[in-house]
Symmetry: C2
Amino acid sequence: MRAEVLAVGTELVLGDVVDTNSAWIARRLAGAGVDSHFQTKVGDNVERIEAALRTALARSDAVVVCGGLGPTPDDVTREALARVMDVAMVRDDEVLERIRRRFEERGRPMPPSNERQAEVPEGAVVIEQRRGTAPGLICPLGDQVVYAVPGVPHEMSEMVDRAVVPDLEQRRGGRAVIASRVVRTWGEDESALAERLAPRIEALDRSPNPTLAFLASGMEGIKVRITAKAATAAEADALLDAEEAELRAILGRRVLGVDEETMESVLAALLGDAGLTLGLAESMTGGLIAARCSEAPGSSAWFRGGVVSYASEVKFDLLGVPEGPVVSERAAAAMASGARRCVGADVGLSVTGVAGPQTQDGMPVGTVFVGVALGDDVGTTQLRLGGDRTAIRRTASSAALDELRQRLLDHAG
Amino acid sequence: MRAEVLAVGTELVLGDVVDTNSAWIARRLAGAGVDSHFQTKVGDNVERIEAALRTALARSDAVVVCGGLGPTPDDVTREALARVMDVAMVRDDEVLERIRRRFEERGRPMPPSNERQAEVPEGAVVIEQRRGTAPGLICPLGDQVVYAVPGVPHEMSEMVDRAVVPDLEQRRGGRAVIASRVVRTWGEDESALAERLAPRIEALDRSPNPTLAFLASGMEGIKVRITAKAATAAEADALLDAEEAELRAILGRRVLGVDEETMESVLAALLGDAGLTLGLAESMTGGLIAARCSEAPGSSAWFRGGVVSYASEVKFDLLGVPEGPVVSERAAAAMASGARRCVGADVGLSVTGVAGPQTQDGMPVGTVFVGVALGDDVGTTQLRLGGDRTAIRRTASSAALDELRQRLLDHAG
């Protein structure tokens, strides 16, 4: 079964907004065992949405349309759907009532423009709106189907999981399952990883199930995606398990986790298991590592906080870094100890370096020192990173967290 | 003239990677006065890339293909282009020589697989590769043209600006210019802003040039895009200038800037003009504000650093917050003063609140207190934000920065 995503919005084709919805929906499609070969974006124009829908329906069994369901006159996805279905628009009173209630809850009268959101193509099944005012739609077209969901991410995601994926899975029925797993690595670039895995890739080329693919993912490292096809989800999972074990045997600690396991979640588990708390001292990363550590719910169990010592004096005065060059091993070590002391944490992690565009302390752009204070030991590592300022800062944040991961693994024995 | 972007990569259609390249290229197309009505993504499959190219060429004058130019066997954009052009592949020795040199500079021999990158469709003009190993291509197809650029963002962007945009502009010749400007606002939601602008929108509806469109952009606020069509760039600019002035008159300080002006860049200018430096104390935002402040080159001129006081003890011990509830006006005020003192800054900005998912100190999720210490004054503001944990943290970071902006504007004048 094939499905594809059509994202609607002039802001998308003009490039004013980066579309994250399509990738999110595509992951859900893959998870439901549905192939997805194309994605399209189109502006808020009824003729062009209609044309894009027809193109998509010529090559896929199902289309998920995202956006263009709002109350303003430029929201014309409903009209385009009615054209493709060749039906009239009808008012759905239940939908209208829910919109009215949504406004009442906010203590505001419903603006007349929102009435448009209760107009649906005849024959479409409404997906009740629970978060925003726009309902979703399931539009049958013979054997094919078009789903329409709002463009607001948290409305879209709730609706896709509640109504679109279950409907698709039912339609998919007993067809072959495609499952994939992402093995996340850090520490080697794509070509080095490819060389290391070359014998395994050659072996798989002779019987390509599962298959491997590399995804360079910036500060998330290099991902290796395993994709398996099988008659059932359980059989596909068994193939993925076996291949994951193969990759872990070859790559060792370069593997930081799989799928939803991130550098942060892995560190949370390692620190949690060891009963340790973390403090940070960040210079060139300027708060990026702290922001990543504090993103997950529950991070207060292990993350104490940190000092963003952007100015050198903050390093000297608050963190106790000795006077001298601040892009140095010595400064990184003192920062890691200072971080631990300042926020009362068990483990201190520090980063100092040159993000650019100018050199600093005679050190070239991309020079980074990482410090880890753990137990009686304060270790430092020097790195040399490439890319522009943004890339260097992001990569440094991951490299520092990985350094901490390696030390915690050593520590755990 | 119409152009569209085709992004190639199985990781894109599987949703493993969010494509930011297409939006970036689309903005450049709009800037070059080229209409862009569609965007497509397709996996690494030569037949499907060919099909997507043909679909795009049936509705546009130019296509920018992004990705699939790497050295591995799944990089097949070159082959798909040769099929659409109906030509053979030929080796380009200059391209090969540049690839070899690139590896020499890194002190590594060129892997044999990279030779593939020197194969180009006959009749294509090579865009010299300056950052990575993949060259770009300009492929003429009668009156139409396909550009191919690498998928690595910093390689892509350099090549689009150096070779693709100038070539497109030349082809565009004397056709009408479409120019747009984004007016960035903070402080009101989309519907409140729409109500405020309703008379202006009605006036424009009667002669729709320029036109206005709203873009809800999360932590970047609500953007109002002005789009103008004219015979020359200068005339289009004049229309944009006049409309920007209209909007500023209606929206006042809710306008934080236009186009590339961000909350951070506006604050950098305000602080720079006043000769003031900034220190932060972040609790629920956990480093997000610091990361934003330190992102721009040159931020060390006004950003001193900050304390991420995630644990309550860090607030008490390091920032001097009095014992008691830490989600409170009193704590926010003490944090702002503490931030200033800790990092030796002129202005202190603080955020404390409940990002969720659990309530804290009896305060509901979404409660946020912002503190600004400026001169002898320490002001605080209470906010109530909606959304999930990630959205609350991001919105809080922008709301805090906007609070600082408003106080700096008061201070200046």
